[in-house]
Symmetry: C2
DNA sequence: CCTACCGATCGGTAGG
DNA sequence: CCTACCGATCGGTAGG
């Protein structure tokens, strides 16, 4: 029975319980740490306790694996952010909640973390289109959040949103778990980006 | 005569005039566009009109080539920024001048652009240490600029500097030459980061 | 899930 | 600067 069959019947698909789920989680961590090109199928296999070739029983290709992880990560992030945003009314509070939720997902070393939403340069061109499309949809959430802000006239909202998103994405490049929590950083970013 | 000999005698070393200078410029563009791993020596050779192996007459290794480009790019950026900053007195104006100067260098598709100061994850570990050390020295410039700012008490200067630098570095990931100039973007970043 | 292998590509070198 | 090549590694596959 193929995965799609299982999904159609509503069975559990790839929880951390299934072997496939374990492999996905391991691959996500490696991609997040070492990038797409820096992670070989043999690396993933080794971390999972099998040879690289054996992974192809669970996945179709390295490309497909990466795309699946990317989409799953954005799905998870979207849901997490939507829930956090819904609890706030003030536009600035909603934005800060979204930032905190995004950073919580993105800086969590466990779970399906974001396999670097940014290193599209590292990925084969055939894959890039799918990633860009999914990311654009993700970023629409922030367009709405920014549109609701009472920004001063001299700030261009579209560029402002661009700056905020790239700011959030770049945190993973320098963040090291320690004195600052994801929430701390989100609070500081919200302060810097707050203008009224 | 080796390169070091030429430098010691004060002769021209690697201007765009010399063959070596051409190759460095070509390599810098490729590294900036496709990343360290995404650029093969054969790619560089092809762009320079020779076979990959022939490059080793001019350089010692791919690693050494990348480190040299990285250092040269930061040297150039430092000089450009220092000159721009020196023309301003007000701390905020000095910061904006630094941002504009950095982006001018970083977004210039010609010349020895920054071969992605950020994708250290893509570079072999043996090279990383040298890059990090040089970058840390570079960033000290911004530490001083930020220290001179009359920031509100609720903003942590060290985190603020971190955010500003990663903001500036990430522009190259999404910038496309068009309606906005590097100066436009610097002006907007300066506005967002201005708090008094 | 392993053995054993494929064709492609990589950084780099010897020798001219 | 080229020819011709090295050993290593890559994504992926057949067959069990």
């Amino acid at each position: 029975m193929s995965r799609t069959d299982a999904q159609a019947k509503g069975e559990e698909t790839d929880g951390a319980g299934t072997r496939r789920g374990q492999i996905l989680a391991i691959a996500a961590q490696l991609f997040a740490r070492k990038g797409y090109r820096g992670t070989s199928m043999r690396d993933i296999g080794e971390a999972a306790g099998v040879l690289g070739g054996s992974l192809y029983h669970h996945i179709k290709s390295k490309d497909a694996l990466f795309v699946e992880l990317h989409h799953a990560a954005l799905d998870g992030a979207e849901a997490h952010i939507a829930k956090a945003v819904a609890q706030e009314c003030d536009p600035w509070a909603r934005l800060e909640a979204a930032c905190a939720a995004l950073l919580e997902v993105q800086l969590d070393p466990d779970s399906l973390t974001m396999p670097m939403m940014n290193d599209f340069r590292e990925v084969p061109e055939s894959v890039r289109a799918a990633l860009v499309e999914r990311r654009d949809r993700f970023e629409r959430m922030f367009r709405d959040l920014v549109a609701a802000l009472p920004l001063p006239a001299e700030i261009d909202p579209s560029l402002y949103r661009n700056l905020l998103l790239s700011q959030l994405n770049s945190v993973a490049d320098w963040y090291r778990p320690g004195r600052l929590t994801p929430r701390d950083i989100a609070a500081q970013i919200a302060r810097v980006f707050r203008h009224d």
